[in-house]
């Protein structure tokens, strides 16, 4: 019993997968080599916007060892389709969004620097690189549209997309909100930029395509967060191969943060080329390619107005945002600044009137899509910056102004004015705990002490809400989603009693091999080492939608709970038969099937064995001990919490030092608290990175200025403080685990907390993320 408790739900079990990772035995896509494989190097646009006039590959093809030079024209001639956008957003006027065609390899025009229009494939990587330099491409360069704020008044990038507008989308009641603002005692206005971020999973994207001409089978090894979705898109939309002839394997994947959800041109090309050439084809991104071509995140320009009554109660919030979608609509790019953004603008508050208007615009930059938090950090940033600004303008304590506006425990389920129904939460509890951990009350003394050292100290809060485990399928599909939002799980109990678990989610750092094993081990009372979790292979796992939006545990874990319930029900029937007891007298607990009010029982393994060697077995029951389940959640889950940042600014240099960071989060029930802590830490680092260090910058010609680690500042160990993290718990009311999801909270709550601290220290609101030393110095010097 004690042993089971130490590995079961709620235990900080050491991760099962770590032995292979700490010994260098992980198997990432670039570690996979196939006999006879060729290497691909992509031909990429040097221009942000140009017409392709001619591609002359003669010289490249003459290089010894070059197998092929293929272009976007070849791909189109082969009948391959465009890369789709998976979420069709309805505009405010009821029409569909305007989606520009996105060929995997460009054939007529290129629309961002780095866009691939061809590929050189050779026996050795170095040969392919050299040959790629010999391809002569004639372009006619055209004026690039780079600034999202000006995109609607610039030349149209895509034929038929007037004013570069993909959509104008609204949510909430405009008239009521404007009336509330008109009648408000105070109106706070704020202009905000949510800076463009480059995801930078440490493993660059990669793909190995293999084709077997004998069977017609295609195997694609690739860095994907959702191999089944990859297969679905490649078969149904791009038409590379029929679904049953395409196996997609996402082996160990070195981080994703959203950027590996999407189907990219490169893996599409690799699997297509493998078939065309009859040889395996491999591609691994160089980091500079990752910077140019991984979907970027955020990039909003927003004007917000918050109305308050004389007591400080929020009466209305109006938000106008221009969202940069990049050159094409990436797989989920359209949904991020709409359904994942506008719906979150109530935050933790009882604001009665909210209206949001989003203009999604095309620019000549790489597509923008989901990056850790996806829409929810942007929403939190708007709400929490303006609430803090309101407190300052009104001379109110920021914590107390929030407190009088919070949704109260008795208000749940709470219908917001922006579509969502929050099922549960206790926002006061996390606020109070965070205030205590941060010693909020002691801040004035610390500020005075810092001033004596010549430092400006500031403190900032952020009370965030997020919506995880996108759901339910029916509603999302009505709103334009192209896929369902359920998850599959399968549990195979083997004849010897150990267990193989199949999940449609994918772990690329989240630790599913451990947490899912904990869930199953806990449920069946078996050892955690007797449970193996399989993921990331369409050839082994039935179906799945992968890992994004902090959904894996809440949705994928719940599917496993459902499958486990089915197995236990079956096991009870087997046990009832074997023990000659009535079915309703048989139950399962602590690893044994037991007959109530008797000492008769059977071990889990005994029943499993009986199911495979059915000597003494119910006649009306199929042999075998394996069950699967699909779980479609009825609602989102709503993690929430309070983050508090404290900074010190060096007035001489403008350097912002983050001196403390407290995060108190409510993720519902925790399966493995240590893993949860790690998820929070990682999210915080990315959110703090956004606030202080990171920004993707294009120049006026659409050239990426921050295209390497020399210029794009990734947070390093010495940029960050030790974090203080804690949790409060209100279990999710509608899934069997009571879990909400923890993957994104850190990145969602922290930017606003840090910037509220920076603006507090500076005494002015008009500084944009990232608060780099020069910007802060200028703000201080009034330059």
């Amino acid at each position: 019993m004690t042993e089971a408790a130490a590995v079961g739900i709620g235990a900080s079990v050491r991760r099962k997968e770590d032995v292979r990772f700490v010994t260098g035995k992980g198997r990432y896509t670039d570690d996979i080599n196939q006999p006879g494989q060729l290497y691909a190097v992509f031909l990429r646009s040097p221009y942000a916007r140009a017409r392709i006039d001619a591609v002359d590959a003669a010289e490249a093809l003459a290089v010894d060892g070059v197998a092929a030079v293929l272009t976007g024209r070849d791909m189109a001639d082969d009948g391959l389709g465009d890369l789709p956008c998976g979420w069709l957003v309805k505009q405010a006027d009821g029409t569909d969004m305007v989606s520009a065609p996105h060929p995997p390899l460009a054939h007529s025009v290129v629309n961002y620097v780095g866009e691939p229009y061809g590929v050189v494939i050779a026996r050795e990587l170095e040969i392919a690189r050299r040959a790629a330099e010999l391809v002569e491409t004639e372009f006619t360069e055209r004026e690039a549209v780079v600034d999202p704020d000006r995109a609607m008044h610039s030349e149209d990038i895509h034929e038929g997309v007037v004013g570069n507008l993909a959509y104008r989308w609204t949510l909430g009641e405009q008239a009521a909100t404007e009336a509330a603002l008109a009648g408000a005692a105070h109106v706070v206005r704020l202009d905000l930029v949510n800076n463009r971020l480059i995801p930078n999973a440490m493993e660059p994207r990669a793909a190995v395509g293999v084709y077997d001409p004998g069977s017609g089978d295609h195997v694609l090894y690739t860095t994907s967060q959702n191999p089944h979705l990859e297969r679905l898109v490649l078969s149904a939309f791009v038409r590379v191969a029929p679904e049953h002839k395409l196996r997609v394997v996402a082996p160990d994947v070195g981080g994703g943060f959203g950027s590996k959800i999407f189907v990219y041109p490169e893996e599409t090309t690799v699997i297509w080329a493998a078939r065309r050439l009859g040889r395996p084809v491999k591609w691994t991104a160089e980091r500079s390619e990752s910077f140019l071509t991984d979907a970027h995140g955020r990039d909003h320009v927003t004007h917000a107005q918050l109305g308050l009554d004389a007591d400080g109660r929020f009466v209305g919030l109006k938000v106008e945002t221009v969202a940069n979608l990049g050159a094409y609509l990436s797989l989920f790019g359209s949904s991020v600044p709409t359904y994942l953004y506008g719906t979150l603008l109530a935050g933790q508050y009882r604001t009665p009137n909210i209206f949001v208007e989003v203009h999604g615009v095309y620019t000549n930059t790489v597509p923008v899509d989901a990056y850790r938090g996806a829409g929810r950090p942007e929403a939190t940033y708007v709400v929490e910056r303006i609430v803090e600004a309101a407190a300052r303008q009104l001379g109110r304590n920021p914590a107390e102004l929030r407190r009088i506006n919070l949704i109260r425990p008795e208000d749940f389920p709470y219908q917001t004015p922006v579509a969502l129904v929050y099922d549960t939460g206790n926002y006061q509890a996390s606020l109070d705990r965070a205030l205590a951990l941060a010693d909020y009350a002691g801040f004035p003394a610390r500020k005075a002490e810092a001033a004596r050292r010549g430092k400006r100290r500031g403190i900032g809060l952020s009370c965030y809400i997020e919506a995880c485990g996108l759901a339910p399928s029916k509603l999302a599909i009505q709103l334009g989603a192209g896929v369902g939002l359920y998850e599959s799980g399968e549990i195979r109990v083997n004849p010897t009693g150990n267990v193989t678990v199949f999940t449609g989610t994918h772990s690329h750092g989240q630790g599913h091999e451990t947490t899912f094993a904990q869930i199953v081990a806990d449920r069946f009372g078996v050892g955690i080492d007797d449970v193996e979790v399989v993921h990331g292979d369409t050839g082994r796992v039935e179906f799945g939608l992968g890992t994004y939006g902090s959904r894996s545990l809440a949705v994928g874990g719940s599917a496993l709970m459902k499958a486990a319930d089915k197995l236990i029900a079956k096991g009870c029937r087997i046990a009832a038969h074997m023990l000659e007891a009535p079915l309703d007298a048989v139950g399962f607990d602590d690893g044994r099937f037991r007959v109530r009010d008797s000492n008769q029982s059977l071990g889990f393994g005994e029943v499993a064995f009986a199911a495979y060697v059915p000597a003494n077995y119910p006649e009306d029951l199929e042999p075998g001990f394996s069950e699967k389940a699909f779980y479609d959640p009825e609602n989102f889950t709503y993690p929430a919490g309070t983050h508090i940042a404290e900074v010190e600014i060096d007035e001489d240099t403008g350097v912002v030092e983050l001196v403390s960071f407290v995060a108190v989060d409510d993720f519902g029930n925790l399966i493995n608290p240590l893993i949860v802590q790690g998820q929070v830490h990682g999210g915080l680092a990315q959110g703090i990175g956004q606030a202080l260090y990171e920004q993707g910058i294009y120049d006026d010609w659409g050239q990426l200025q921050t295209g390497s680690y020399m210029d794009y500042c990734m947070p390093r160990a010495d940029h960050l403080p030790d974090f203080v993290v804690d949790t409060t718990v209100t279990p999710c009311t509608h899934n069997p685990l009571g879990a909400k999801g923890c993957g994104e909270a850190g990145a969602i709550g922290s930017p606003a907390a840090v910037m509220n601290a920076v603006t507090d220290a500076l005494g002015r609101e008009d500084i944009a993320m990232p608060a780099t030393p020069e910007k802060v110095w200028r703000a201080l010097a009034g330059r």
Binding site: Y693, I697, M710, D711, C713, M714, P773, R778
Partner: protein, 266 residues
């Protein structure tokens, strides 16, 4: 990387000969700048001449009033060397701030100085301490060495053998690192000699240079407050994503002031 011929001679003469014979030869020291440049296909030498086996380029000693550092001495060695830390702690500290630990375990003094990267740290020490660069054919004074962006007084094929740093009474180096790359946005070495003050500045302009106005002011009174009175015009200063010219000029003063503060503690 483009293909090239690789050589590893064991004498300066042999190295120079290989250079003469090569169509487009280049010397390789620690490689921490050259190799990334070649990987990015921004350099395509026909011949890479690795100096690693040349013994006379090694050696680190403190003799009388001079710290003599061989061209191939790695940053980590200078940072950790007990004699250097005693005689010229500012130099050891500077070496310990270059790049990151792995870079310091490979990168060399000669490689850094010969490259004259505008954001490298060592040039601030060379200029600020008035070092002498010993080469395969002559000695070059620090003031004559750095000429422009990636340009030095070295003639084609000339090899830095070592650098002699005169030991000042006191010195200190302050650096404002680029948070992304760890190069110096601005770095300032201030050194007090019997004969006066020297100030070497890196990061701010095309190459390292002396802050003569700062030197004069500090020679009159070695006091951090003096720095505030000195004009540091930003004409010709670098301006990039990480710092505009006027911010760099401001940072020169802040780093200089802090270096003087540190120096006075010594």
């Amino acid at each position: 990387m483009y293909s090239f011929n690789y050589h590893r001679p064991d004498s300066v003469d042999a190295a120079r000969q290989l250079f003469e014979q090569a169509e487009d030869g280049i010397y390789l020291a620690g490689g921490q700048t050259l190799i990334p440049t070649m990987k990015q296909r921004l350099a395509a030498p026909s011949d890479v001449i690795d100096l690693a086996s040349i013994r006379e380029l090694r050696g680190l000693s403190v003799e009388g009033g001079t710290v003599r550092v061989g061209a191939l001495v790695r940053h980590a060695e200078v940072a950790a060397d007990a004699d250097v830390r005693r005689a010229l702690p500012a130099l050891a500290a500077l070496a310990g701030m270059i790049g990151d630990p792995q870079v310091r375990n490979r990168g060399t003094l000669g490689g850094s100085v010969a490259n004259s990267d505008p954001a490298a740290d060592y040039p601030a020490a060379v200029v600020g301490l008035g070092a002498t660069i010993r080469t395969s054919s002559r000695s070059i004074a620090a003031d004559d060495f750095f000429q422009d962006l990636f340009e030095t007084a070295l003639t084609p094929g000339e090899i830095i053998v070592g650098i002699d740093f005169p030991v000042p009474r006191r010195a200190a180096y302050r650096k404002f690192p680029n948070p992304a790359s760890r190069y110096a946005v601005v770095g300032v070495m201030v050194a007090e000699f019997d004969g006066g003050i020297r100030v070497g500045i890196t990061g701010a302009a095309g190459c390292a240079f002396r802050g003569t106005a700062l030197e004069q002011a500090l020679a009159e009174r070695l006091d951090p407050a003096v720095v505030e009175q000195v004009e540091v015009p930003d004409a010709g200063f670098n301006s990039d994503l990480h710092a505009s010219a006027d911010y760099r000029a401001h940072l020169v003063k802040v780093m200089a002031r802090r270096a003087v503060e540190d120096l006075l503690q010594r």
